[in-house]
Amino acid sequence: MTTMQVLFLFFAAIILGSAIKVVTTKKMIHAAFWLVVALFGIAALYAMLNAGFLAMVQIVVYVGAIAILFIFAVMLTRKELLDKGAALNNNKTIAALISLVFFGGLLLLLTNWSGFTKMAPDLPEGDMVAKLGEALVTPNAYLLPFEVASVLLLAALIGAVYVANEARSE
């Protein structure tokens, strides 16, 4: 095994272990922090794939903003900070069924995929970040998805401002 494989297995174990802890731990805040661990593991995988930009964005956006919003939401909505409440509903069979169907679908897709035996193509020379930036503003590449995502975020922003304003005027 090469060093990269050992590292991959290490990070994959961290991601899977913490992901299981997210859904099994009783305390809400602990679940949020386990989620942070899982997100860090995914950032490490990005870094191993030579996608340093994505790794950093993963930490900034998911750990720095979204996970902290989760923690905020939990802290603001629960009366007790050391909350150990029972689950809201008990749908274990349906959840197991849905996840089994998903697992089966993914397994089917991946067994038919031929990419496992191929080697990854060599990375082009030069600054990867500059190439990514150019790809995001080139019409033939990813300009349209990029702009659509920006419009979506703008709509969410305007919606948030509208809702906040309404609350104040009452």
């Binding site: 922090f33 340093g52 903003a65 902290i68 802290m75 600054d127």
Partner: protein, 395 residues
């Protein structure tokens, strides 16, 4: 002479030769040398931190017209060692109901978020931990680990004042990240790279402070807010919420938070020097060698650390709603306007001699317009209030 011009590579090569001479494989020797270097580098940062405590106490004393520590050693320079002994022999208390693991992890994370930044600080060319091509994003990412440590400390303490302090800090840090990122983006637009070494190289002729003076000011303000130092020290407002998120911490755990804050301020001083003041350059003195460059960089970092202290001990704390309004209604729009102006002017006058004067003048223009707008806005609100309070005259 080789050592003088490239000390790190020379040391690395000689160590590698020694270790492989002992029968070690080359990979194992490289890993071992990296581990030793990291250990030495972190030790250097922590020893520097000890003296930062002394500097901080001396400077605050001068600002408050006192002498500061002056008993132990010349100018009281051994005072921090006495402080450390005191912190180490204090009782280590974990409050009842605290979440023990997270309570103990929080100070480590706090220190970690600072030490991570040292990996990308370019002290001189060839004297840098890693030359990441996304160094500026890395800076923001390390900051989010700091936010995480605060929220962990606040929640795990099981204390309402600690939680309130954590809430305030997180609101502040998430908000002020945005103008800071916009200010960094201005520098990235100017230099055309996100790597720390590339940014320093781009300032070969003229440092970026002349390209973007207002941006430098915005970066300084948002850096102070990220650090949680006065006037943005709402997270530990002593007169309101005891000590904020580190209320329950004693001994060396509190010491880690405190040392982390000081080292963070110093590191941000370094980043101001790196982004806007040409890094290790000082009127050609850096050509003497990387070691001189590194000393210049550290002196610059200490100078901007002093500026941050100057602000801290001069300006009183601002209110929570003012802090948020100042960020969202003033700093963020201004930073984005500056980003657009810089991108536009920089594109129109690319490679032209007029680039620097045009950018400088456009910065001044934007600043002037901002002042005019603020004045008219203030007049309007005042007139509206006067119209409301004035008695209605009946004819």
């Amino acid at each position: 002479m080789e050592f003088w011009y490239d000390p790190i590579t020379t040391i690395f090569n000689s160590l590698l030769a020694t270790f492989t001479g002992w029968g070690m494989s080359e990979i194992a020797a490289t890993v071992l040398i990296y581990a030793i270097t990291i250990l030495l580098f972190v030790t250097f940062a922590m020893v520097l931190d000890i003296f930062l405590v002394w500097i901080e106490r001396k400077v605050v004393a001068r600002f408050q017209d006192r002498l500061g520590p002056n008993r132990l050693g010349p100018f009281g320079i051994f005072q921090p060692f006495a402080d450390i002994v005191k912190l180490l022999i204090k009782e280590d208390i974990t409050p009842v109901g605290a979440d023990v693991i997270m309570f103990n992890l929080a100070p480590i994370f706090s220190m970690m978020s600072v030490l991570l930044l040292w990996a990308i600080l370019p002290f001189a060319p060839k004297m840098v931990g890693v030359d990441l091509n996304v160094a500026m994003l890395y800076l923001v990412a390390a900051g989010s680990i700091g936010t995480l440590s605060v929220i962990m400390a606040g929640w795990a303490s099981n204390n309402k004042y600690a939680t309130m302090g954590a809430f305030r800090t997180v609101a502040q840090m998430i908000s002020y990240e945005i103008p800071m990122v916009a200010a960094i983006l201005v520098v990235v637009v100017l230099s055309g790279t996100m790597g720390a070494v590339g940014i320093v190289e781009a300032q070969e002729g003229i440092p970026f402070i002349f390209y973007a003076p207002l941006t430098a000011l915005i970066f300084l303000i948002s850096a102070i807010a990220e650090l949680g130092r006065s006037p943005f020290d709402l997270n530990e407002a002593e007169s309101e919420i005891v000590a904020g998120f580190h209320t329950e911490y004693t001994g060396m755990k509190f010491g880690l938070f405190y040392a982390g804050e000081l080292l963070h301020s110093f590191t941000f001083g370094g980043f101001i020097a790196l982004l806007f003041f040409g890094g290790h350059r000082f009127f050609g003195l850096e050509n003497l060698g990387p070691i001189v460059g590194a000393i210049i960089f550290i002196l610059k970092a200490i100078f901007f650390y002093w500026v941050i202290m100057w602000v801290k001990y001069t300006v009183p704390r601002i209110r929570v709603d003012h802090m948020l309004a100042f960020n969202w209604k003033f700093l963020t729009p201004l930073a984005f306007i500056l980003l657009m102006v810089t991108a536009l002017v920089g594109r129109l006058l690319m490679d032209s001699l007029w680039l620097v004067p045009a950018l400088f003048l456009s910065n001044i223009f934007v600043g002037w317009m901002t002042v005019l707008y603020l004045k008219s806005h203030e007049r309007k609100t005042r007139e509206a209030e006067e119209a409301k309070s004035a008695p209605v005259v009946q004819h």
